[in-house]
């Protein structure tokens, strides 16, 4: 249990050495170290190659990497051939990346952040922000623990375990929740910010927002919101200085 907890703790730093060659690979090796300690005693000849394999190229969503970590470590103890374990890791990259991105980056994160924005604009203040951090991290910790445990319990059949789990359904629901939460947050934020200004000023800001959205649709991937904003701020400053 202590080794599992040590691995779980290290999974929080899985992107510590993120790079373009092995991506999460080094972090996976770092998290695998406590779990592979027993292998050094039970199968000393296999341990070095298992450690080397654990740090090979790997990419997935960081919060779900525990599934692949657990499955590959379990396979090492089961004596699965090394080439099979490498293939298992490679096969898990895409599904864990896609599911994790849907569940967290495009789902739970924007949903919870937008909900926090909405609540703050309604007057909840810093307590809402503290609640967001606590609740999100409680969920994330539970997911990390579930992922590691499921991977260790399933070994090479982790793919089936993922398919039958709550993950695919939750990923879909999280996306819908994100859409709703952002939809609620946008008008609340607009009123929160624009209420103190004149009608003309507020209308100008909303017109600029509409222009930015149209620019984003027309320019596609060429559009970058920060650059658009900095250009607009520079243009406004120059205009104001010119008419002064």
């Amino acid at each position: 249990m202590n080794r599992r907890l040590a691995a779980l703790r290290r999974l929080y730093a899985i992107q510590g050495a993120w790079n373009y060659e092995r991506m999460l690979g080094v972090g996976m090796g770092y998290a695998a170290e406590p779990l592979l300690e027993e292998l050094a005693r039970s199968n000393p000849s296999r341990h070095p190659e298992a450690v080397a394999r654990s740090a090979e190229f790997f990419n997935s969503h960081p919060y779900l990497a525990g599934l692949a970590l657990g499955a590959s470590v379990r396979s090492e103890y089961d004596g699965t051939p090394g080439a099979h374990i490498s293939r298992l890791r490679t096969a898990l990259c895409s599904p864990l990346g896609a599911l994790g991105d849907q569940l967290f980056w495009a789902g739970a994160v924007p949903a919870s952040v937008a909900a926090t924005v909405a609540v703050v604009t309604l007057g909840a203040g810093p307590l809402a922000v503290a609640a967001f951090v606590l609740l999100f991290n409680a969920f994330r910790a539970w997911v990390a623990w579930w992922a590691l445990r499921t991977g260790l319990d399933s070994g090479t059949s982790v793919g089936a375990a993922i398919r039958q789990s709550w993950l695919p359904r939750a990923a879909h629901l999280a996306g819908v929740a994100a859409g709703l939460a952002i939809g609620v947050a946008v008008p609340l934020a607009a009123v929160w910010y624009l209420a103190p200004f004149s009608r003309g000023g507020a209308a100008g800001a909303l017109a600029l927002a509409a222009g930015g959205v149209i620019a984003a649709r027309l320019a596609g991937p060429m559009y970058a919101a920060p650059r658009f904003a900095l250009s607009a701020l520079a243009a406004a400053l120059i205009f104001r200085l010119a008419i002064r």
Binding site: N19, P48, A52, V133, L180, I182, G212, L233
Partner: protein, 226 residues
């Protein structure tokens, strides 16, 4: 803007923590602008300014989808500097535009600095390929700790730049109230454009889009009635 040494050190420490949190460890959402802004505001004794700046930069951050090896801004240390500037002026209506400009500039710089760290990790990795192939755990740990250390240095540098920009703007940028209000309105408009643009892009045409439209229309209706 004259900060007490203790306040300055706390802001620097907070900037390092949130900079490292974005990618390296622990990815606990501390780097979200709304969180960074609130805590930075509390450190500076102006939570209102922290929330106003944090929520505005959060609208930009909601446009970001940090999938795979994509390039994205680092708004954590940037928000620290933006809040430091906003806390100087008496009203957020006057400071939000310039604070947003500081946040976005340093955020973009932060995105570029992440690439620098990643390339340095590759160089470090290539020097230890034999150790990794031999399964030496110490080599893995060393790579991990050095990389996190580099990220901490990067975050410290970004926070210092953000605080330096805030200091420079507070000291030398003397704007009349009309210009300050105009910049604030522009920043708000662009923030709304960022969050709506991002939401439309990721919503596609399915259920997510329907719920986004329903949420926006329903809330707008309720606000209109209220």
């Amino acid at each position: 803007m004259s900060l007490e040494p203790a306040t300055w050190l706390l802001l620097l420490a907070w900037g390092i923590l949130v900079g490292v949190d974005l990618v390296s460890v622990p990815q606990a959402m501390l780097a979200r602008p709304i969180v960074v802004g609130t805590v930075a505001g509390a450190i500076l004794g102006d939570v209102e300014a922290g929330l106003r700046v944090g929520v505005l930069l959060e609208l930009f951050a909601l446009d970001v989808l940090p999938v795979g090896a994509s390039w994205y801004p680092d708004y954590g240390p940037a928000t620290v500097g933006a809040v430091a500037y906003a806390s100087v002026l008496p009203a957020w209506e006057q400071s939000l535009g310039v604070a947003c400009a500081i946040g976005l500039t340093v955020g973009l710089l932060g995105g570029a600095s992440l690439q620098w760290v990643r390339h340095r990790v590759v160089r470090d990795l290539n020097m230890r390929t034999n150790d990794l192939a031999a399964g030496r755990s110490a080599a893995i740990r060393g790579l991990q700790y050095r990389s996190i250390g580099r990220d901490a240095v990067r975050s410290a540098g970004l926070t210092l730049i953000a605080l330096g920009l805030a200091e420079a703007a507070a000291r030398w940028l003397a704007l009349d109230p009309g210009t300050s209000h105009t910049l604030t309105l522009v920043a708000i408009g662009c923030g709304l454009a960022a969050v709506i643009g991002g939401a439309l892009r990721s919503a596609g045409r399915g259920a997510r889009m329907r719920w986004f439209v329903a949420g926006a229309a329903g809330t707008a209706l309720l606000l209109g009635i209220a």
